[in-house]
Amino acid sequence: MTFLLETLAWLVDPANWVGSGGIPTRLAQHLLFTLVTLVVASVIAVPIGFLIGHTGRGRGLAVATSGAFRAIPTLGLLTLVALWVGIGLNAPYVALTILAIPPILAGAYTGFEAIDRKIVDAARAVGMSEAQIVLRVEVPLGLPLLIGGIRSAALQVVATATLAAYIADFGLGRYLFAGLRTRDYGEMLGGSILVILLAIVLEGAFALVQKLVVPRGVTAGLPTDIRDGSSRSRPVMEPTIEEGNSHVHST
């Protein structure tokens, strides 16, 4: 019970909400670090994932490599990179980018793989170039699964980014390491709660984005969507024209 009271006291202490070590600053640092890591990991993983998904080649290699990457303990990797590039933010960026790549890569290629091959085949048969197939068919249809991959990476990175404070004065992890050293469990738990809250907010934001990027035609036609459809554009929802009388219009 005292832990919780201490935590609460720490969280509401105005002194903890100001300055370079204050909660808003560290929260912003933590969020920025997470977003930059996701962007860098996406820049690396998305094109490779699209290439694998589009060509259907290299999937086995990607699965094996991703699996191996996932097995790397992030703290160990962080220490290793830090020994190589030194103290500072570079080492956490490298370590967490490596953590973020596998889910994003998997999201990118499974997004493409989940598309009905007949749709891609038809797009090619009517004369789309390979680039047009990727950009106009596979990316829009595969986007929800890609966002899902980034969402899962975001969750891992935002939690693991606490490790950045292990070798730099940075982010919400600082409260954990500092609290651990001074046995200030209120500070530790308070920091943890902040990380958890940030993770929940990010998760919610990505869940929303993931829902928004589902192309409308994919959800359209489901019985529940009928009412939504009519409110979006005027002539969409007239009663179905029966096959039998539809060719009346042709003469």
């Binding site: 749709i119 085949d121 038809a122 048969a125 035609g217 994919v218 036609g221 007239e238 060719h247 003469t251």
Partner: protein
């Protein structure tokens, strides 16, 4: 005119899909490839727009070897209609129809206007233009697929079992629509099916294929029915089971047409009033089918 010159296709796994196939597909006529699965009929069709390249041999369109043409450019000039329509699910009906003209650089506004006109051509109500494919019935989707195939006003229209996935009533309707369209537009149609009745209904030239892409018989429906070259063709068209040997029996109520098995096939009527009789449909094929032959050809583009 499409010419196959000793075309052979062997897939990387060793399957011989097409074996030394030569044939001329005349312009403005419908050629139907018909055969069981594994007969290479779809492979033959897909070689015309270079979705599949032959292992050896060549294919000419109007005298040009298509092996020398850039595949993407070639495909944009050939209409393609596939089973299950193959429409882009994330695009509205109108944008699906306008896709290829826009790929060829037509301004969006003009492409959409023409797409709307094409919906009329294939007998779809214009109010469906803003729907997504998933909001249409199977038959309607197939019509949109045909409209998309016609969108660049191609000389050649490839149709890969386009009516295979719709119910028999809608299929019969779509078949009649295609006959009407063909009378108006006079395209060089290449049609693939496994349904011999569909082949006889739609084809000016019917190509019966046996496994491995070997031609069993080529001819007009009447020629094939009258003279099946061998057992395989006879079996395929149903002649061996007596399905095609019809005779008339007088039952008192009228003249009934009966096949060899005793199954009642229809009634005998005067040729003048035979518009809806299925027995007469192959007869009407003998009439002129070229462009301009139809009195109601006013809608042709």
């Amino acid at each position: 005119m499409i010419e196959f010159h000793s075309v052979t296709k062997r897939f990387p796994d060793g399957t011989l899909a097409v074996d030394d196939f030569s044939l001329v597909l005349p312009s403005h006529k419908t050629t139907v490839f018909v055969g069981t699965s594994g007969s290479g009929k779809t492979t033959l069709l897909r070689m015309i727009n270079r979705m599949v390249d032959p292992t050896s041999g060549s294919i000419d369109i109007d005298g040009d070897d298509i092996g020398t043409l850039e595949p993407v450019k070639l495909r944009r000039g050939i209409g393609y209609v596939m089973q299950n329509s193959g429409l882009l699910p994330h695009r509205r009906v109108i944008d699906n129809v306008a896709t290829v003209p826009m790929l060829r650089g037509m301004p969006k506004k003009k492409a959409r206007e023409e797409a709307l006109a094409l919906l009329d051509t294939v007998g779809l109500d214009r109010t469906l233009a803003d729907r997504y494919p998933s909001q249409l019935s199977g038959g309607q989707q197939q019509r949109v697929g045909v409209a998309r195939g016609l969108a660049v006003n191609p000389n050649i229209l490839l149709m890969d079992e386009p009516f295979g996935a719709v119910d028999p009533i809608v299929r019969a309707e779509l078949q009649q629509e295609l006959l009407r369209l063909q009378q108006e537009l006079g395209k060089t149609v290449v049609f693939v099916t496994h349904d011999i009745d569909e082949a006889f209904l739609l084809g000016d030239q019917v190509v019966i294929l046996r496994t491995g892409g070997k031609v069993a018989q080529v001819g007009s429906p009447a020629e094939i029915l009258a003279n099946p070259v061998d057992e395989f063709v006879a079996t395929f068209v149903g002649a061996d089971r007596g399905k095609r040997s019809l005779h008339v029996e007088n039952h008192g109520d009228g003249d009934i047409v009966v096949d060899e098995t005793g199954r009642l096939a229809g009634v005998l009527v005067d040729a003048g009033s035979s518009g809806h009789s299925s027995a007469a449909s192959s007869e009407s094929k003998a009439g002129p089918r070229g462009p301009g032959a139809s009195a109601q050809g006013g809608d042709s583009r």
